[in-house]
Amino acid sequence: MHREEKISTHMDWVTVLLFAVLVTLGWLNVFAAVYDETLHQSIFDLSLNSGRQLMFIAASVIIIIGILLVDMRFYDAAAYLIYGGIMFLLLLVPIIGKEVGGNKAWLGIGSFGVQPSEFAKFATALAVSKFIGTAGFRMDQLRNQVVLFMLIGLPMALIMLQKDTGTALVFTIFVLMFYREGMSPFLILVGLAAAVIFVLTLLVENEFYLYGAIGIALIITIFMGKKKFKRIALLTIGALLLMGVIESVDYIITDVLKPHQQNRIKALINPEADPLGYGWNVTQSKIAIGSGGFAGKGFLKGTQTKFDFVPEQSTDFIFCTIGEEHGWLGSLLVISLFVVLLFRIIYLAERQKSRFARAFGYSVACIFFFHFAINIGMTIGLFPVIGIPLPFFSYGGSSLWGFTILLFILLKLDAHRSQMLQRI
């Protein structure tokens, strides 16, 4: 009893409230996304996504209780074990998994299926944080960085085997957490620069403009700084590498990416070019959101989502329902809630006394941020279509549970942050 009392007094109730609000809004929108006026459906109807989502929510409450009851030392101690276990499940998926919607990402347990890839996120977060939290860990050691990249590379590779590129890409966001924990921003900047150049190459018709721009930028930077041979050489190599990226764009687009991935990039550049083909998803998604106007059409009054114009309207494109039925004001509310949640997580992470807990907190923030940014970005045509869910909104048990576990392990660690210090 003494222990539980402690939990409730040290719990961060602000985050719990945010969680509750987001999950409830998500549940209502899952109902609205498929609501058919002519059928007089109930939101609790178990044949509907909303009815099942309520079950998933109930299940996540049980999971939360479980997380809070377990000794907080368990997460630190068992981090590698959990990681190993999940990796084993991921390995099993291509062998004994069942295929749903083209992706072989599901493990069947009775009539229910779970996606181990959703749980790989918190497992990897635990493992990576544990490694960073090891006594004497130094981020600037190349050996440590290699281990960290291997820890996130393994689940990525296994998930790629399931052809679930979207979920695999989520793991790249750990790099942001590494940066917080001391890694040089060089890698992130290079990655960002490559991505910007990549997109620019697609947008700019004539590649020679880009070559010209890089050349001019190189000359200006050389003359602005010290004219040391080493610096000039490094800059020149960097510029040549960028030009290499440009040259490789065509190759990557046509030879590395699969046709549906090529189309998603084309759709991002110009969805109107083929509104019924590869541009369909983005076009319809934008129509749904755009038709919402300032204040929206009203709860259950949308037409584009529930009449199936928008694909995957309960899962990946759930934001369309928000945009259509609640307009810009509704979008503002949801986006604000996410920003508040992200700030709160950063706040929680920063107040951790242990490096393990802080790294885990930043992992949670990064993963949430990635999902939030990519998911909403894709529905409004700012990112290519990458099939990842919007945390707490998208329909689906595995993803809801995955996000719940991430958040509540952090809350559990946070509630015991003073004990953590004692331990160290």
Binding site: Q304, S331, V339, I376, I380
Partner: protein
Amino acid sequence: MIEGRKEIFQIVFVLVALVFLIKLFAIQVIDDRYAQLAASNSIMKEVDYPFRGLIYDRHGNLLVYNSPEYDLMVVTREVKQLDTARFCEVFDINKDQLLAIFRDLRARKEYSQFKPTVFIRQLSNYDFAKIQENLDEFAGFYIQPRTSRAYETNTMANALGYISEISKTQLDRDSSHIYRQGDYIGQSGIEGYYETTLRGQRGVRYKLRNVKGIEKGRFKNGEFDTLSVPGQNLITTIDAELQRYGEKLMKGKVGSVVAIEPSTGEILSFISGPSYDPTMLTGRRFSSNFSLVSNDSTKPLFPRPLMAMYPPGSIFKMVQTLIGLQEGVLSYETRFPCDRSLVNCHNHPNPVNLHGAIQYSCNPYFHQAFRRIINQNKSTNTFTDSRIGLDNWREYVGRFGLGAPLGVDLPGEKGGQMPSSRLYNRIYGEGRWKFSTIYSLSIGQGEMLVTPLQMANLAAIIANKGYFYTPHLIKAIEDGEIDPRFRVRRETDIDSAYFSFVQDAMSDAILGTASRAVIPGIVLCGKTGTAQNPHGADHSVFMAFAPKDNPKIAIAVYVENAGWGGRAAASTASLMIEKYLTGEVKRKALEDYVLKGEFLDRVVRATSTLEAD
């Protein structure tokens, strides 16, 4: 080194959120294109076709009504895995036809794979019942109900006209933009003339549909829906039974029968022979039947009472008599010798007075009488005198409703031809023609043409003793008014006493020239005519009205190539009058004589009769 990195995270989060909100503001609030796109995505406009007005006869018997028919529509994008063998079986077509329909479909200019397009037009009730059960097997196919015309009668085709799909040129000409491609429009007859009255107003229903085009209820609870307004019903002046009887009598003959109620100008029957069954020009077989009817050498589509123009022959002598009397150049006792040097005649007492001239239809008499009308010595120059005389005469005949369309409520009415000095100036040159050039007019021949409708109207004028109402086919419009011009009395400005004189002569005339026309117990006034036909047997003409006191019916019958007016035309007219006035025909022998149609030694019959199949 690690200091300040927390802030970078916060900045990135806020920046991304701001970018999203700005982008959202752009597509949700600033750009209204998406709202329109959403509407065109999910809002389906469904036309509610109005019921076309019904058409009744003068006694309220239904003549024309609407029967449901169904167009099979297709949205080709939604057609998936069509089982062609099954489709052909259900829709009773073969595979080549099916492929041909798809080919035609794609070739259409307005074709879109997203929009419903007519696949099979005008399925009958029977076909529809059969197909409806199986329709759910074929994704992408829908039924669009609408109505086509149906007829209680197989007569009156030329008066009723027909409706058909609006043509490209009609659509281009439609400045009101009421019509759409595929709409029906009245093309002739009453359907054509009263199109705006009959068509009603289309309604629109806005429905929501999902991505597969399946209905998902009404848009905004039907706030923007409009109901269709049915067309107005028409009550015609036609007596359906008289019409049916007249068509029976005219079967196998070429010509016209027009009967008018003199006191109102209402057309009691409007018969054109040969005609067609109006049912032929409805439904799915419209196009094949239409080409059949329009290519028929006997021209069943041609409304003879309105558009056929013939020389009136002897019946025109009534007009000459009345003009001569009014001009004061003839009196009841004026006599002329029957001088056959210029115009031929038949044996009769000689010389006769005006009454006798009408009774015996003396051609030389009217030659002399017309000379008096034309040459009144208003000028010493005989050419000028003839011109003055003719133009004066032309004014008179114009008041008889001749030489110009009467203004009946049917499209395409012809005016016939009544020559004026302008016509002869054009033919012969000014000052180069005189009475001797134009004397054929005296007995209703020459450059003179009238329509059967004008002949019937002439009978009505004589019956009314000097005036008429514009003949018309519509007696009343439900919830509407007929054109007031049909209620305006048109005067000939000829003394009614002269008409009484002419009536007396006409009632005597039939005793000699048209004894078959005599109806026991009814005093009938009539005048035969036999119009010369250089191409074959003469045309048989008869004009009559009855009873002489308080006339109820005026009639003109024109039977082509049937010879003597006293035979075919007089008999038909007489039977019609008996039928109308007494309700039944007792003279069965005369009826058989007309039905048999052997009026000549050499029988000339219509070459074909058309029946609906």
